[in-house]
Amino acid sequence: MKKTTQIYLWLVLYILMVFLPLALLIILPKPEGREFLREVSVALGFLGMALLGLQTIPTSRIKFFTRAFPMETLYNIHHKLSIFTFIVILVHPILLFINNPNSLRLLNLFTTPWRVRFGIFAVFAMFVLIITSVWREVMTIKYDIWRWIHDGLAFLAIGLGIYHMFKVNYYMSLPYQKVLWLTLTGIWVLIIFYIRVVRPIVMLRRPYVVEKVIAERGDSWSLYVKPLNHKGFKFSAGQFAWITTESPFIFQENPFSISTSSNRDDEIIGFTIKELGDFTSTIKQLKPGETIYVDGPYGNFNLDEHYHRNLVLIAGGIGSAPVLSILRTMKDRGREEHVMFFYGNPTLDSVIYLEELEEIQKEIDLKVVHVLEQPPEGWEGEKGFITADILKRHLPDDYKEWEYLFFLCGPMPMIQAVEGALKGLGIPSVNISSEKYEMA
C-alpha cells in the first residue's frame, strides 16, 4: 500500500473512532431526548472522552505510526487536539449548568453522587494536565518528573471519565454503546500497555554499552554506544533516538540526535549532547561498559530520499548533531553535491565540531557559514542570529532554481525564525525539513 494512502487511512480511522459512538446514537434508536443544551452537552461529553482516549496514540511512538507520520506532526497534532479536548470536556458541564442553574449544587463534593464526583475529578485532572504541559518550563518542572505527572494524570482522567460515563448510564444503557466504549477503552489500554510494558521489555532485551564519552566544545559530550549481543539498528543521517541509562520501565528517557555517520559498519552509534541540566549533566559521568538503552531511530529526514541536487543545513548550537551525522555520512560516501551549512553559536569557543568541520570541508563540497552572537575581536564573519539577510548574502543568486533542500535543527524559537526567513526568501515549505528540539 502506498504510504500516502496509508496516512489517509489512519486519519479516517482516527476520525471514525472519535465520531462513531455519536454517529450511531444519531442513526440508531435511543432513549428520549431532553433539552437542547443538555443534549449538546452530552454529545460534547462523548466526543471529549473519545478524543481524550485517542490522545494516547500520537505520542505512543508505535512504529507503524512513526513510519507513516513525521514525529513532529504527531506531537503537533497531540498538542493542539489536547487543548481542544480540554475545552470540549470543560464546555460539557458548563452547558449543563446554563441549561439548569440548580445543577450547580452538584459541584458540592460532599453531597454530590459518585458519578458526578468522578466527572469533576476527571475535569480537574485534565486541567492540571494542560497547565503542567503548556507551562512546564515556566513552572520549572523537570522533564522526567513531568512525564510521570503527564502520564499519571492522563490515565487518571481517562479512568475517571469512563467511570463517569458508565455510571450516568443514560445513553450508555444501550448495549451497543457499552460494547463500543469498552472496545475503545480496550484499544487505549492496549496502547498504554505497549508504551508502559511491551516497549520497555523490548529495550531491556536489546541493551547497549557505552563505548566512550568524549568532551566537546560548548559544554557538550559525544556519547558512543554499541549494541550488546544484537545488531543494533540501521538509521538515516539526521534521525534521532530516545536514550536512558535507567531501566526502561522508569521512563527517564530523552530524545537525542544521532551524530555519527550512517555508513559506519562497526554498529557504533554516537550522540552529541549538550549539558543543560537533568539527564544531560550525567552523560560525562558515564564509563565505558556501562549499560544504556536506546529506542530508535525516529525522524523523517533521509539523505537519499529527496528531489534536490544540493543541501542547505541550518543549525543552532547542539542542533549541529544531526547535521554532523549528515556531513560525516556524505564524507564516508564521497557524495559530490554542494552543501552549505549555516551554523549559529553564542561564541567561537562554543562551536562544536569546529575543527572537524574544517577537515570535512577539504573532502566534500561544503561551505560553512559561522554566525556568532558574541564574536571575538577581529571577527570578519557573520554576527548575531541567522537571518534572511545572512542567508541571502551567502546563498547563490539562483538558490530558488538550484532546488536546494533545507534541513533545520535547533531550539523552537530559532527554527520558527529561520522558517519565517526562508519563506520570506520564497522557499516553498515542502523544501524545508525541520527537527525541533521541543517535542514534549
Binding site: I15, V18, V40, A43, T73, L81, H306
Partner: protein, 40 residues
C-alpha cells in the same frame, strides 16, 4: 517516500486535520442536540 512528500503531507495534516476535527465536533454536537429535541 521523498522528504518533500513527507513535508507536504505533514503541512497539510497540521493545518487541516485539527480544523476538521474541531468543525466535525461542533457540527455533530449541534446535530445531536437538534435531533434529540425534535428540531429535525
Amino acid at each position: 517516500m521523498k522528504v518533500n512528500e513527507i513535508m507536504d503531507i505533514s503541512n497539510k495534516i497540521q493545518r487541516g486535520f485539527v480544523i476538521l476535527t474541531v468543525l466535525l465536533c461542533v457540527v455533530f454536537a449541534l446535530l445531536f442536540g437538534a435531533i434529540q429535541t425534535g428540531l429535525f
